[in-house]
Symmetry: C2
Subunit: 207 residues, 2 copies
Amino acid sequence: LPSRASVARLSLYLRSLEEFARQGRVTISSGRLGEALGVTDAQVRKDLAIVGSLGQPGVGYSTGELISAIRHTLGIDREWRVALVGVGNLARALLRYRGFPQQGFRIVALVDSDPAKIGQRVEGLEIHSPAMLPAVVAATRAELGVVAVPAEAAQSVAEALVAAGIRGILNFAPVVLRLPPSVSLVAVDLAVQLEQLAFLVQASCRE
Amino acid sequence: LPSRASVARLSLYLRSLEEFARQGRVTISSGRLGEALGVTDAQVRKDLAIVGSLGQPGVGYSTGELISAIRHTLGIDREWRVALVGVGNLARALLRYRGFPQQGFRIVALVDSDPAKIGQRVEGLEIHSPAMLPAVVAATRAELGVVAVPAEAAQSVAEALVAAGIRGILNFAPVVLRLPPSVSLVAVDLAVQLEQLAFLVQASCRE
Ligand SMILES: NC(=O)c1ccc[n+]([C@@H]2O[C@H](COP(=O)([O-])OP(=O)(O)OC[C@H]3O[C@@H](n4cnc5c(N)ncnc54)[C@H](O)[C@@H]3O)[C@@H](O)[C@H]2O)c1
Ligand SMILES: NC(=O)c1ccc[n+]([C@@H]2O[C@H](COP(=O)([O-])OP(=O)(O)OC[C@H]3O[C@@H](n4cnc5c(N)ncnc54)[C@H](O)[C@@H]3O)[C@@H](O)[C@H]2O)c1
């Protein structure tokens, strides 16, 4: 099994490759792919061997073939149905973000505990009450869950998603969730991206 | 200069270390730190040498010392002032997110082109028109910019931020920005996090 770090790199290679494909590049070298991301040529080749892709010496890799091999390794050559709990500001931005359906992620179920929101429709989906979560997950066959509620509600919401049969959770709330090892968990903290930016800005000041 | 990948790892070590510190662990081994993130012991030690931290054989590293060394290397042992353009759903979620001030990022300026929004106040900040961007950036001494506008407006907004003196841009819009090499750029695509989750879920199905 590739490490989390190499899987994260695969997502970044995918974006670069999709941009190269948009520019009409049919083949790409591991050096060129690595340059765009600050990854060594040797590391790129090691990562691409994981997806089963072997470049032709002197020619490089086929951009199209690499894209489909990476998509297959990541498991995004199919559709994933997503249940979203906590329909606030963040959720509304995620619902309208075209980057999700482009990679095969479809939000199919909305749940919120605010009585004023239950029954409303957002982007064509009805907002259900938390009591309806098991029924909604079953009816929509949702497989992934997004936790977009305040910190104090996140643990109980995550447990309810797991009880409803969800096997993977994307957590935005600023708390560490404690979940059984059979459930996959990815936490998002956008401050990490700002830290990366701060590092680059202060590093470029020093030069 | 450390690579982007190792800088990204520093942010992740920081989160793990802050969680260990909350649990009262005064020292930590490189192996234990790597385990939490799926990074090899040797890679952790290499990364921590960049921040100038050397563990004591058999004892490990001081959690507190590592936290301040990483914060110093990342450049987040100080406050960064941030200008945010595009005060829509995503921006409102970012404005209320406590994870930013916790790491020293303070949003100090808001700009939006919607006449209905200009002059309103959100989280204590007034929304200014795009024409006011240079004056607002100068008055607030903002150093970083967040682009949270629709795709078609993003390039011109980014150029306006650079012209106003901003040296680093965090881009949420789903377009590749073309900026001078003197400007640091980090792009966010939350679909990447969903891909990581999809990979983990399908990998655990196979076991
Ligand atoms: N990780 C990041 O980088 C990041 C960035 C921004 C926001 N956030 C976090 O995302 C979360 C959502 O942020 P927001 O700005 O959209 O908040 P918000 O207040 O606009 O929305 C939260 C929603 O959750 C609902 N809710 C509360 N308790 C619930 C429960 N038990 N069950 C179901 N729904 C419930 C509320 O009714 C509300 O609609 C917060 O935890 C915030 O800290 C994280
Ligand atoms: N990268 C990701 O993971 C991710 C996730 C969610 C949303 N997004 C993107 O973030 C952006 C914002 O999303 P949202 O849901 O908050 O959208 P939104 O429509 O709610 O907000 C956009 C705001 O930008 C303002 N605006 C438009 N043109 C402008 C201009 N030229 N100058 C200043 N302000 C301008 C609008 O008036 C509006 O207030 C979109 O591009 C969206 O695709 C990215």
